[in-house]
């Protein structure tokens, strides 16, 4: 009985020494972590931040968005809201040739208006409610949405996380030009 308990205790102490060996080996290994504010991790590839608009190739001030509202409809937390203007009939008539402009007045249902694309006025994302599921990016027919890679996004108020993405796009485009 006594022999058994002594053997058990000695075995237990040996196990502690084995554990100490592991910690001491690791003690002399290089750091695994980084000192965050002074250092940053080299890559955070694939990180999905909040969404942003993709600019048109020919005009970086405008987005690819055609204001179809697919993303608004599919968003689980309805955090996207967009405004688009329907082009005015007069504006279309000015732009189009005069015989084409006459067509709607003859009674056919607004054929030229259908052809004209609605223009995006504002695209607001309330990031407070976003769950980063990526359904909006997937549902976009023109690929006008992408994920940003802003890992260190932080703010003091809730209002800071309501982004006007169209303004952001234009800001980024201007920055690039400079």
């Amino acid at each position: 009985m006594i022999v058994k308990s002594i053997r058990e205790n000695l075995g237990g102490m040996w196990s502690l020494l084995v554990g100490l060996r592991v910690t001491s080996i690791n003690f002399f290994r290089p750091h695994v972590t980084v000192h965050y504010p002074r250092q940053c991790v080299p890559t955070l590839e694939g990180y999905r931040g909040h969404i942003e608009l993709v600019p048109l190739e020919k005009d970086p001030l405008k987005s690819k968005c055609i204001a179809c509202s697919n993303c608004v409809k599919i968003c689980p937390t309805s955090c996207i809201s967009l405004k688009a203007t329907k082009p005015k009939k007069a504006a279309v008539a000015e732009g189009a040739d005069s015989p084409a402009a006459k067509v709607p007045s003859e009674g056919k249902k607004e054929a030229p208006v259908k052809k004209a694309k609605p223009e995006l006025q504002s695209f607001v994302l309330d990031y407070n409610y976003c769950s980063l599921c990526g359904l909006c990016v997937q549902s976009c027919p023109t690929g006008a949405l992408e994920f940003s890679d802003d890992v260190y996004l932080a703010g003091f108020t809730r209002q800071e996380f309501v982004f006007d993405l169209l303004a952001r796009l234009q800001r980024q485009a201007q920055k690039k030009e400079q």
Partner: protein, 386 residues
């Protein structure tokens, strides 16, 4: 006006309901809802006699978020991010249960490559979940170092998963008919590298923790759960396998391509906290085994069904789908009336059944042992409260 400044000893609704007892020398103690060892907002009412627990009753609902009701309100794709929020540690398995139920009801076929990707990512996520449990459990028992090593490994796996899923914890990766992004050669190479690394790490974990005398004293012959008690409460996962019953949904009701892989179901007959500990440690190795087999036989093809519907609208009917999560059997029972959102979605959280055991197991034990038992059940409170 006269203020009554005496201490309110009557307690709230649960405490009052718990109160009546024949003994007068016992004390009612609230453990939680902000107790660090409960890993979330779990409150346990304990009737204690000195250091010994006479009765214990978990009080739930502090983080109830109506996930089942949300399924009735949101359309099917809109519900995709939700399952990940129920169990944030094994988010992919919950997502799989949801997409699997909808796919089964729609009769939607998943491409083979997508099935393999699902298996690989889900198993990686399982390792992640067990690693966090391992670290946190030992933290409960008073060992601080292991959680650092666990997080070292977890970060690497999270980096691997981040590249394909885009997130680090609450993944929303599976879609109806496949996954949202294909894996590339770099993913395969990194996963292989991590698999070989993990095998070395397991040896270190064994030396550092599993063989440790102090740990063994804290977990051996503590919280013995018989197989019958498991059956009575419907406990599944490592809790059931730690009691000697080799039940694993991946083997019992094979879903996806799990029937193609050769893996063991670790079981331990000791029925105690050590048994459950060992099951999880072995399960991580089995997961690595599965991942390596899946990477070897990864087929080419689509990662999502080319005709996968963007707005899923399953026909009327009801369907049931079960997957093996890190904590046990995750089931989803979906009833559809043919509309764009579910008529009713019942989530079965394994943690709920496992927690229900606690009252029976903990009576008669010391408070410090109850902490050990609670940790060995591997509870994730958001999953239990849903």
């Amino acid at each position: 006006m006269k203020l009554d400044l005496r201490l309110d000893t009557s307690g709230d609704f649960y405490a009052q309901k718990f109160q009546p007892t024949k003994r007068e020398d016992t004390l009612i103690l609230n453990m939680g809802p902000q107790h660090p060892s409960t890993h979330g907002v779990l409150r346990i009412l304990l009737e204690i006699d000195g250091e010994y627990i006479v009765r214990a009753e978990p009080v739930l609902g502090y983080i109830h978020r109506m996930h089942e009701k949300m399924a009735e309100v949101m359309s099917y794709p809109q519900y995709l991010p939700n399952p990940a929020r129920t169990d944030y540690l094994h988010a992919l398995a919950w997502g799989w249960a949801h997409v699997g139920a909808v796919e089964r009801l729609m009769g939607l076929e998943v491409p083979e490559r997508a099935e393999y990707i699902r298996v690989i990512t889900c198993e990686l996520n399982r390792i992640n979940s067990h690693l966090l449990w391992w670290g946190a459990y030992l933290l409960d028992l008073g060992a601080f170092t292991p959680i650092m090593y666990a997080f070292d490994d977890r970060e690497i796996i999270m980096d691997i998963l981040q590249r394909v899923t885009g997130s680090r914890l609450t993944y929303c990766y599976y879609r109806f008919g496949g996954v949202s992004k294909d894996i590339d050669d770099r993913f395969v190479a990194e996963t292989r590298e991590q698999c070989t690394r993990m095998k070395e790490r397991f040896k270190m974990y064994k030396d550092l923790v599993t063989d440790n005398y102090i740990l063994r004293q804290r977990v051996e012959e503590i919280g013995e759960i018989s197989v019958n008690a498991c059956r009575k409460y419907g406990a599944t996962g490592p809790v059931l396998r730690g009691s000697g019953q080799a039940y694993d949904v991946r083997r019992a009701e094979p879903y996806s391509v799990y029937d193609r892989f050769d893996f063991n179901i670790p079981t331990y007959d000791s029925c105690d906290a050590m048994g459950r500990y060992m099951v999880r440690m072995d399960e991580m190795q089995e997961s690595i085994n599965i991942i390596e087999q899946a990477l070897d036989t990864l087929p080419q093809g689509n990662f999502i069904h080319p005709k996968a519907p963007k707005r899923a609208k399953p026909p009327a009917g009801d369907v049931y789908f079960a997957v093996e999560g890190a904590r046990g059997k995750i089931r989803m029972h979906l009833v559809s009336d043919g509309g764009k959102s579910a008529y009713r979605l019942k989530l079965r959280a394994p943690g709920f059944s496992n927690l229900s055991l606690f009252g029976e197991v903990s009576s008669g034990t010391l408070i410090s042992d109850a902490v050990s038992i609670l940790g060995s059940l591997d509870l994730v409170i958001p999953e239990i409260d849903r």
